[in-house]
Homo-oligomer: 218 residues x 2
């Protein structure tokens, strides 16, 4: 799609042509597009040719409306921008609550981890983690998270058992501050573990299978 077409389409949308016919002379369009009346008229004919707008050519003033195809074109650009600017500072993962493996909760609740988490994130986690199965289509976004810095929580050895480094990424679930924790040497997994100051299941009344959004700052 030629950028000058979507540019014109966007301006028509801003003038109200998205949902309804809008009275719009070629001179007016030319003014908003910063071009002559003649060129705007030509642009309108091109948009008509490409089936991006329809037009009701009245006696005095034409009325223009964007077609469903035109709306789709605009949405494509809109979603491009969304991707650009929402990926810039946060990633939103969609998924479903699942039962904890037991493992993660025990793991992260070691005092040596807890102290560091409190220092890094500003809260002392509730004992236990909330586990979320990330939607398949959001796995690339999870990889972005894995690739980002986060806060490193150093590992240690205790009672002959080795606890590895963990990366904590600050996040929010329904505006509740939390963090997702990922072992530094993690294998590929579609389950993420979330720690929080509060008991998330109780606070947000979550049950297994419930769907949630996890917003992660990166």
């Amino acid at each position: 799609m030629d950028s000058k077409f979507t540019f014109a389409l966007r301006k028509i949308a801003m003038l109200g042509g998205l949902e309804d016919y809008v009275a719009l002379s070629s001179r007016e369009l030319g003014d908003t597009l910063d071009m002559s009346q003649q060129s705007a008229s030509k642009r309108i004919l091109e948009l008509l040719d490409d089936n991006l707008i329809t037009r009701d050519l009245g006696a005095r003033r034409q009325r223009i409306k964007i077609t469903p195809k035109g709306v789709e074109e605009l949405k494509v650009e809109y979603y491009e921008y969304k991707k650009i600017f929402e990926l810039a500072d946060q990633v939103v993962l969609h998924g479903a609550i699942t039962e904890g493996m037991g493992e993660g909760g025990y793991y992260i609740c070691q005092p040596r981890y807890m102290e560091q988490i409190e220092a890094a994130l500003g809260f002392r986690p509730f004992e236990g983690t909330l586990n979320v199965i990330v939607d398949k289509e959001d796995m690339p976004k999870l990889e972005i998270v894995r690739g980002s810095t986060g806060h490193r929580i150093s590992g240690f050895i205790q009672d002959g058992r080795s606890f590895g480094n963990v990366i904590a990424h600050p996040a929010k679930i329904h505006n509740v501050e939390c963090a997702i924790v990922i072992p530094e040497r993690s294998h590929y997994s579609n389950v993420i573990e979330i720690i929080c100051q509060y008991h998330l299941r109780r606070t947000l009344k979550l049950d297994n299978g419930d769907r949630i959004d996890v917003k992660i700052k990166i």
Copy 2:
């Protein structure tokens, strides 16, 4: 801003040039912009000239990063799209034109009301209101409007008669800016009164019984 500049800028952003330098040859950029290597090279020079990108011209591959000015340009477009597509905060009432009761037109045209309306809505209403009988099935939507904030137009007492508070909700009929006005202490009614800068009946060629859509921002 020329649309072809923001187009190129957007593609560079999608390739990762928003936050960091991204290795991007003129041929690659040409491919994503659907133009020749030569034109892409020229486009890069133009963007540099306009201070929209900076560039680290290494021995083998140049690396490109969008400047703060370039980010601003992109954000302007992003917010334009947001405005276009998130105008979904509206209620559309369907109904039919009816004869004014006379009452409303006299009521709202009091200068004390008019001044406030002009200040709140940005237009001085034409004297008289357009009355619309709202479809029965849209009455729940009308209740949503009544429940929303709107602009309060304060009442007053004049010539021993009391004029109560009125709530004005900005609206559009076929893309013409207007507002529906509802007395704060209104009884249940399926007729709404609409004020507008223009004579709506004449401007939109409306007769009693004609059906219209009223889009109300909430």
